[in-house]
């Protein structure tokens, strides 16, 4: 059982990481869900093998009981990741409301500086301190009084 479960944990981690690297937020949310499921399953299997129920009075000193602590940790972790997934989905919906897509976009400053590099290597000229592109977006970096 343990080898199979360990392989399952590895598969969950792998697919989770692959999905997180995707462009759209919904796939990222699925990837995060897979990743946290993998982590929770890992927590469960490190508690050791099966045994009697860990209730005081229902086992003697020689019996093997199952470890009660990992399920407690896993319950907490599941509830936490449940809350976070809900928040991310709400964020994806908000992004869809504003822009009609839910892609995780590049940073504005990164695109501007990358644009400078491309233009400089093409034209050989010195780049300006403030790029002429991305002007319409620059208000997004400094909120200003609302």
């Amino acid at each position: 059982m343990t080898i199979f479960t360990a392989a399952l944990v590895a598969v969950l981690y792998g697919t989770g990481v692959y999905m997180i690297l995707q462009r759209t937020l919904t796939r990222v949310v699925l990837g995060l869900a897979l990743l946290s499921h993998g982590a929770n399953l890992l927590l469960l299997i490190v508690g050791g093998g099966a045994g009697l129920a860990p209730l005081i009075g229902s086992f003697t000193g020689n019996d093997t009981i199952s470890d009660p602590i990992p399920p407690a940790l896993v319950l907490t972790a599941i509830v936490i990741s449940f809350g976070m997934t809900v928040f991310l989905l709400a964020l994806a919906y908000r992004s869809w409301q504003l822009t009609r897509n839910d892609a995780v976009e590049d940073d504005v400053e990164d695109r501007r500086i990358a644009g400078l590099t491309r233009r400089r290597s093409r034209a050989g000229a010195r780049p300006a301190m403030v790029g002429p592109i991305e002007r319409a977006d620059d208000e997004s970096t400094s909120g200003g009084p609302r």
Binding site: V28, L35, N40, L42, L43, I80, M84, S95, S140, G144
Partner: protein, 495 residues
């Protein structure tokens, strides 16, 4: 102690519930929030006084026996961080109350208080899984605060922040699973006693996973790029408290786990290299930016490198230098971001090409920026100088000359980027002035509470500089107890 130790955690949570009940009245929310944080700060100061006199204090929640229950531990390091953290939280709260449109949403105050409670819990907890829970509470509150407003920029940059932190949380859970698999406990004191029974390679593997997890939280090279990506778009008080506190919680956990669980007796090469790269890459990134908040965000990364440097030396003076640097950095960083909030409030923008000449129009803001920036750059007699000097001396003591040279180069570049902000914002004329800038040479005003709270926080940094001697002695004692954790373990486990 049994009642006093949970107060900085439980009280802000209770008051968060009260602010939710009072959600119709903004004035009631503000009053409740400020009262709650003030009482928590008073409790933290009392804890510091008791710990300084009597040594580490511990209480196991629920009355359970030591390893079975969750332990709250206050040693000198935790108590110092708690006091300075809650002071900063209070100052930023007053700033947000003064900047009227900042807390106009009913969700601001409950979330802010929940963040305070989570930060206190992460400083006070003695249990690894409880640390995970406190991180999650802190992150959940920060997700809400960073996307507050729901505009396009907040949603875009909030997404990156949330996803990266959730990946780091999954990794933290993995690390806890491996620790539990190896040793069967998650209590930090118990782990420190049992860690020696593990083979060397397993200990190194666990240490590296924790380094990645807390390094992501603290924005160490190479996992730092989420910070300049997401911080600048949040509103001013939010980014101020994030900059001052959240990364320092990551550094606190890094120091706590590395000294308690994975102690070394010689400087750690991995950490030294990471520290050097963080310092240089952070400050080079800062120089390339054109917006005040972005420059300051890159600086957070760079200054984290200094704290990792202190930890990497693994000597008492190195860690004492790191602790003092954290204590100096929290109020300085926060006050710099509060100043950027003042600039945004009075001039309308923080981009260097849109504001200029503010030295004449907001001289008080210029003075506050000057003091905080000089402290950051390490000019005597301000607190930054004391911090950097102690780190340099510790580096010489451990004979690590290369990293000392790197840190000094980083200081010069920090000064250069601060000069860039000064030239762009407080001298010169803007290329594309904002509306507020365009009306001539009139004085620009910001609400009094905003200016007042910034003055108070800069006053705290000056006080740290003034009392640097006694404070450094406290840091030295804290570092000593970090590297020789017998008293800590005894306080928690009772043996």
């Amino acid at each position: 102690m049994r009642v006093l130790l949970p107060v900085p955690v439980v009280l802000p949570l209770l008051f968060a519930a009260l602010t939710v009940l009072a959600h119709r009245s903004r004035m009631a929310q503000r009053a409740i929030a400020i009262t709650g944080v003030t009482i928590a700060l008073a409790a933290a100061v009392t804890i510091l006084v008791i710990v300084e006199r009597d040594g580490p204090q511990s209480v196991t929640l629920g009355g359970w026996p030591p390893v079975v229950g969750i332990a709250l531990v206050a040693d000198l390091f935790s108590a110092l961080m708690l006091v300075i953290g809650l002071t900063t939280v209070l100052a930023v709260l007053v700033f947000a109350v003064g900047q009227r449109h900042s807390d106009d949403l009913a969700a601001f105050h409950p979330t802010y208080l929940a963040l305070t409670a989570a930060v206190s819990l992460s400083f006070l907890t003695g249990d690894l899984f409880n640390l995970f829970v406190s991180f999650e509470v802190m992150l959940a509150a920060s997700y809400v605060l960073i996307t507050l407003g729901g505009k396009r920029a907040q949603v875009r940059h909030g997404m990156t922040y949330v996803v990266i932190n959730m990946v780091a949380s999954a990794l933290f859970l993995t690390a806890i699973a491996f620790v539990y698999a190896s040793l069967g406990t998650v209590n930090l004191a118990d782990l420190s006693m049992k860690m020696g029974t593990l083979p060397e390679h397993l200990r190194t593997a666990l240490s590296m996973i924790f380094l990645v997890v807390f390094g992501t939280k603290a924005a160490v090279f190479p996992v730092f790029s989420w910070l300049p990506d997401s911080y600048p778009t949040a509103r001013a008080p939010v980014v101020a408290v994030f900059a001052g506190l959240l990364t320092k919680v990551g550094i606190y956990c890094l120091i706590r786990t590395q000294t308690l669980l994975f102690p070394e007796d010689h400087p750690s090469t991995v950490l030294l290299v990471l520290a050097g790269l963080t310092m240089i890459v952070g400050v080079l990134g800062a120089i390339a930016q054109n917006d005040m908040k972005r420059i300051l965000s890159f600086h957070i990364v760079s200054q984290i490198g200094y704290m990792v440097l202190g930890l990497a030396l693994f000597t008492v003076s190195g860690i004492a230098g790191a602790v003092f640097f954290i204590l100096h950095q929290i109020p300085v960083k926060t006050s710099l971001f509060l100043v950027s909030g003042l600039v945004e409030e009075s001039a309308g923008s923080t981009r260097l090409d849109r504001v200029g000449g503010l030295l004449r129009r907001t001289p008080l803001t210029a003075a506050l920026f000057g003091l905080a920036a000089l402290s950051l750059a390490g000019i005597p007699p301000l607190s930054g100088f004391v911090g950097k000097l102690s780190l340099v001396q510790a580096g010489f003591g451990a004979r690590e000359y290369a990293i000392v040279a790197v840190s000094l180069v980083g200081s010069i570049l920090t000064l250069f980027s601060m000069a860039k902000i000064w030239n762009g914002v407080f001298w010169g004329t803007p290329e594309r002035p904002t509306i507020a800038m365009a009306d001539g040479a009139a004085r620009l005003r910001a609400p009094r509470l905003m200016t007042g709270s910034t003055i108070a926080l800069v006053g705290v940094t000056l006080a740290i500089a003034l009392f640097a001697g006694p404070i450094y002695d406290l840091c030295h004692r804290a570092a000593d107890s970090l590297l020789h954790p017998a008293a800590y373990v005894q306080a928690v486990l009772g043996r």
